[in-house]
């Protein structure tokens, strides 16, 4: 009998983004990944700026600062600040939950099932609310201070 090969059916990295109508925590994970990579990219540019350009003296530094005071760069800076606040807050939530500290004890599964993350969702929503408030506060700072 001919050996039949089974068809690959992995979602791939696209499966990180969308795999169905899942709930909040899956998208918090995705945003955590996106903000992490975004901050990494910014960090590379920032490290170059604060080393190569800083060590070359006042003229180069001030020329760089003038280029970076462009509104598009300021907006990018705002996005990085919000990304940092999100990544740090969600990261702290993940550290607490990943070590099982705040998820509670295993309970017998009685229908309708409520998993541990779902039970702690009010805290997760509170964290998101804090992030949104801080994003608003930063926007205030960047608009009155930076432009």
């Amino acid at each position: 009998m001919k050996q039949i090969t089974h068809r690959r059916n992995y979602l791939g990295a696209g499966g990180w983004v969308w795999a169905g109508n899942y709930q909040m925590e899956r998208y918090l994970y995705l945003l955590h990944r996106v903000t992490g990579l975004g901050i990494l990219l910014f960090g590379l540019i920032h490290l170059t700026m604060t080393t190569f350009f800083r060590i070359q003296g006042q003229d180069i530094w001030e020329a760089t600062m003038t280029v970076l005071s462009n509104p598009w760069f300021k907006f990018g800076e705002y996005l990085v600040a919000v990304a940092f606040v999100y990544h740090a807050s969600n990261g702290l939530r993940l550290i607490l939950q990943e070590l099982g500290f705040v998820l509670g004890k295993p309970t017998p599964p009685i229908y309708p099932y409520k998993d541990a993350l779902r039970k702690k969702r009010p805290w997760t929503i509170a964290m998101v609310a804090v992030i949104v408030i801080l994003a608003g506060v930063f926007l205030f700072d960047f608009t009155i201070g930076g432009w």
């Binding site: 001919k2 039949i4 090969t5 089974h6 068809r7 690959r8 059916n9 992995y10 979602l11 791939g12 990295a13 696209g14 499966g15 990180w16 795999a19 169905g20 109508n21 899942y22 709930q23 925590e25 899956r26 994970y29 995705l30 955590h32 990944r33 993940l94 939950q97 990943e98 070590l99 099982g100 500290f101 998820l103 509670g104 004890k105 295993p106 309970t107 017998p108 599964p109 009685i110 229908y111 099932y113 998993d115 541990a116 993350l117 779902r118």
Partner: protein
């Protein structure tokens, strides 16, 4: 009694024939659906009346065997456990479970799931091999101890959690939420002494630390197992072991043989005499 006419529901089913050579495609069927009908009932109707070549797995039809896991309207469900009415749609798109190879139509290859499960040694391991090979009696386990892992023992190995997991979507070498949850189920079992054998299996580049708490596995699990909780508790055990904080608990002992007792009330004589 008025006759309730069945509503016509469109089933868009992923068809794939491994011997045909063409890629998976959707085929539409119209099924008369009535109240209380499950997706599995619809599939059986199609197989009996419309297209007998449709392939899918089914067995118990009561959400205990784990055979009928499928992607229904973009979410993994057990077909027997999902009423057509609860999907609130006249069109159902049914595909094979993602992150598992497709054998034919809606039949997924669960071999990778079982292989990962075997890797975590899902059985009681004791140092006393004599007792393991030739058991003399059962191991004792108080109910409070059972409750620390009983929730995770209800796994029916349907593979829905692996389909939901974003890490499993891209990482073929990831053990998966099912294997990791079962690893914790055995490591937390008081009768087991095999933690040090299992930890090297999950403390790898594609083991427990590749879980990022997306929680999709627990959300999708049809038995309310909460594999995400099991994996985080496993991480706590790994951390305790790595930093030398793990409390060495003596494993359960073998139950002592029952003691002889006197019957409290003497057994009554038979009142009915046998006829000669």
């Amino acid at each position: 009694m008025t006759e309730v006419s069945p509503e016509q529901v469109t089933f868009k089913i992923q068809r794939y024939n491994p011997e045909g050579g063409s890629p998976p495609h959707l085929q539409e069927f119209t099924v008369p659906a009535s109240k209380g009908m499950t997706v599995l009932d619809g599939l059986i109707y199609i197989k009996e009346n419309l297209d007998s070549t449709l392939a899918f797995r089914t067995s118990c039809r009561m959400a205990i065997c784990g055979s009928c896991g499928m992607l229904i309207n973009n979410y993994p469900h057990l077909a027997c456990h999902t009423q057509i009415e609860e999907l609130k749609s006249n069109t159902l798109t049914i595909k094979s479970l993602p992150n598992m190879p497709i054998i034919k139509d809606l039949v997924a290859d669960l071999t990778p799931l079982f292989d990962n499960h075997k890797l975590v040694k899902p059985y009681i391991i004791r140092q006393d091999s004599g007792e393991m090979e030739n058991p003399t009696a059962e191991f004792t386990q108080p109910p409070q101890e059972l409750n620390t892992f009983l929730q995770f023992a209800y796994c029916i190995k349907c593979g829905i959690c692996v389909s939901a997991c974003p890490t499993s979507a891209s990482d073929e070498l990831f053990l998966g939420p099912q294997a990791l949850a079962q690893c914790y189920r055995y490591c937390a079992d008081g009768r087991d002494e095999g933690q040090l054998e299992r930890f090297p299996v999950v403390d790898t580049d594609h083991g427990a630390w590749r879980c990022h708490l997306a929680g999709a596995c627990s959300e999708a699990c049809p038995k309310g197992l909460d594999p995400a909780l099991a994996i985080q508790l496993l991480k706590r055990q790994l951390a305790s072991q790595a930093f030398g904080l793990r409390k060495k608990q003596a494993p359960s002992t073998v139950a002592s043989p029952p003691t002889e007792t006197e019957p409290k009330v003497p057994f009554p004589e038979f009142t009915a005499k046998s006829s000669k």
